[in-house]
């Protein structure tokens, strides 16, 4: 008698509906995967609503089996606010790149955090506007080459990067801020735990949460696909230290 094949493991969560079209070596699909694993494991997918900004990750709206609103550049935290206020029993998260959140949408994320909106914002930070071809953002680190800082970001002409997680962590109304990286296996596991913790805070009604995930962008960094993780460790991680950030005491 022939043995019937038995599924013993999946190579990816069921919530991923198809392949992504992003560059080899990109960290964003890794971030998407751990996010969807957390939604599955916490069993909250049937009450989750995602608000997705604009960037390469924007195409994830087609491959994630979660309800999504694709919104205007930078505005995701505001849209998330509206959704959560009228549907407080849902789990609302945003997915935004650094260009989206820290350039266009800096006001929105800071105000949403200050208001203590019970939503979880997820920042995919690779220090570059990848989707438009690799331009400087507010998180591009000093010395990093982009198409608008060809000789490397120079503080005299380009100013300094903005560590948005630190700004958010300084606001009352915030329940959890953490920074992870998907450049190493250990980093992936730790970042996944950060996402889980952030969602647990939302479920407990504790207030605003932000998880910043440093992701590789070898195309935007002008490095070979396989060199992304090392570049990340040497550049972004130095400027944006990993770990859970301490929060301000609430009055």
């Amino acid at each position: 008698m022939t043995e019937v094949p038995r599924l013993v493991a999946r190579d990816r969560p069921e919530l991923i509906l198809g392949d992504h079209g992003l560059c080899p070596g990109c960290g964003e699909p890794v971030a998407l995967r751990i996010l969807l694993e957390v939604l599955e494991e916490l069993d909250i997918v049937r009450r989750s609503i995602g608000v997705v900004g604009h960037g390469c990750y924007g195409s994830f709206v087609q491959i994630m089996d979660v309800e999504v609103l694709q919104c205007l550049h930078g505005r995701a935290p505001s849209c998330a606010t509206g959704i959560k206020r009228v549907r407080p029993d849902t789990v609302v998260f945003t997915m935004q790149g650094d260009g989206d959140m820290v350039n266009e949408g800096l006001q929105e994320v800071l105000h949403t955090a200050a208001r203590g909106e019970n939503v979880t914002c997820i920042l995919l930070n690779n220090g570059v506007f990848g989707d438009t071809g690799g331009h400087q953002t507010a998180t591009t680190v000093v010395g990093q080459r982009t198409k608008t800082s060809l000789d490397g970001r120079n503080p005299e002409t380009h100013g300094y990067p903005i560590p948005v997680a630190d700004l958010v962590a300084s606001l009352a109304g915030v329940s959890y801020v953490a920074r992870g990286a998907v450049s190493t296996a250990g980093g992936v596991a730790r970042t996944k735990r950060m996402l889980q913790t952030a969602f647990e805070h939302q479920l407990a009604g504790d207030g605003f949460g932000l998880v910043e995930i440093l992701t590789m962008c070898p195309t935007g960094w002008f490095v070979p696909a396989g060199s992304g993780p090392d570049y990340l460790t040497g550049s972004l991680e130095a400027a944006y230290p990993l770990g859970e950030l301490s929060l301000r005491e609430r009055a």
Binding site: E14, L15, L17, G18, L39, E40, V45, R46, R47, S48, I49, V51, V61, Q62, I63, M64, D65, V66, E67, V68, L69, Q70, C71, L72, R75, S78, C79, A80, T81, G82, I83, R85, V86, R87, T90, V91, Q107, E108, H111
Partner: protein, 359 residues
């Protein structure tokens, strides 16, 4: 102000619109203070929590409209607004709402009539229009508020209520009763999380490409369908009022508060024997083209009176029965504070401009 029903409360326009919105089921409002819109934000701020709703004093107009967009995407009857200067910041989001097919009431509590182009031509992107109603007084603003919530839901689109300082700040004895409308289908497109993980999870995206497991129409078919929808609305939802048009050889064309004053002047001039009437677009978009053509068919003169440099004028020139009969008797007229109408919005100057044109 005109009012026939027994009066219940003395309300200014901001308070009356608030009550009307609540009667229509509005439970989410976000706004940023800006005169003369501020009163609406204040009233919503006080009243919405009393009925289990939410009002957010947003940190900018950008946030306000995007919060409201989120609430609308989640299925709530939601509203936002500002005056024209603040609405300028909301244009991208209004286009987004239209192409996402999301309902939202946007109140332009304008400072004057200089936002006609903004409302009817739009400042966003793409092929979309916004149904715009321009009440002439507070009781009409009350009716229009409920009608606009209905139209927004019926057509799944952002819609505009065009108010002004006189509507915002004048108190009138007014009865705000909930109006009945035809039943609407349920909002099964609205996000509530429940379709997550089913393979058919909901998606709201202007490009409408859907998910790889359930592809959508994509931008080409979707944007053509949206454009066709607005063509249908243009056909079905134009509204206007013709006042003493019979036998009129002079027809004044005016909207909003300007029409309220023009109506008074028409009565005075009729007393004096002039054969004069008033055509009032109630929807600024869809512009009531066919009704205007009919109302001006026998007119020797079509006099456009609006408080701006000539905006509705373009539409009147295009659609009046005889373009050569159209003349502009309005103008920019601003209060010294910059926040309201100037001396032109008054019976005597309107009367003298009409008589000059008729001579």
């Amino acid at each position: 102000m005109t009012s026939t029903a027994p009066a219940r409360q003395l309300l200014d326009g901001c308070a009356a619109i608030t009550e009307s919105a609540i009667a229509a089921g509005c439970r989410f409002f976000a706004g940023y203070p800006m005169s003369p819109f501020t009163g609406l934000l204040e009233n919503m701020s006080r009243r919405l929590p009393e009925v289990g709703g939410h009002c957010l004093n947003a940190e900018s107009e950008l946030e306000a409209v995007n919060m409201a967009l989120g609430a609308a995407a989640a299925g709530a009857r939601a509203a936002t607004g500002s005056c024209g200067q603040g609405l300028a910041l909301m244009q991208e989001a209004i286009a987004e709402l239209a192409l996402n097919e999301l309902p939202l009431l946007v109140v332009n509590m304008a400072r004057n009539q200089q936002d006609y182009f903004q409302a009817t031509r739009g400042g966003g992107w793409g092929d979309y229009r916004t149904i715009t109603l321009a009440p002439k007084d507070v009781p009409e603003a009350v009716e229009h508020t409920q009608l606009l919530f209905h139209l927004a839901d019926r057509y799944r689109a952002p819609v505009i209520l065009y108010g002004d300082p006189l509507i915002a700040q004048t108190h009138v004895s007014v009865d705000v009763a909930a109006r009945d409308f035809d039943p609407l289908p349920p909002k099964d497109w609205a996000l509530d999380g429940t379709s997550g993980g089913t393979g058919h999870s909901r998606q709201i995206w202007t490009w409408a490409m859907g998910k790889v497991s359930a592809p959508g129409p994509g931008p080409d078919r979707h944007w053509r369908a949206v454009a066709a929808k607005f063509d249908q609305i243009a056909h079905d939802e134009a509204r206007s009022e013709a006042y003493r048009i019979d036998g009129a050889e002079t027809v004044i064309v005016a909207f909003g508060s300007a029409a309220l004053f023009a109506e008074h002047v028409v009565d005075e001039l009729r007393e004096d024997g002039h054969r004069i009437g008033l055509f009032r677009p109630v929807t600024l978009w869809p512009f009531p083209a066919a009704d205007l053509a009919a109302a001006t068919r026998d007119a020797r003169r079509v006099l456009v009176f609006e408080l701006n440099a000539g905006q509705m004028l373009d539409d009147v020139r295009q659609f009046a029965h005889d373009r050569d009969t159209v003349r502009f008797i309005g103008g920019v007229s601003i209060h010294a504070s910059g926040l309201s109408y100037g001396p032109l919005l008054d019976v005597a100057p309107i009367r003298s401009r009409i008589l000059e044109a008729v001579a």
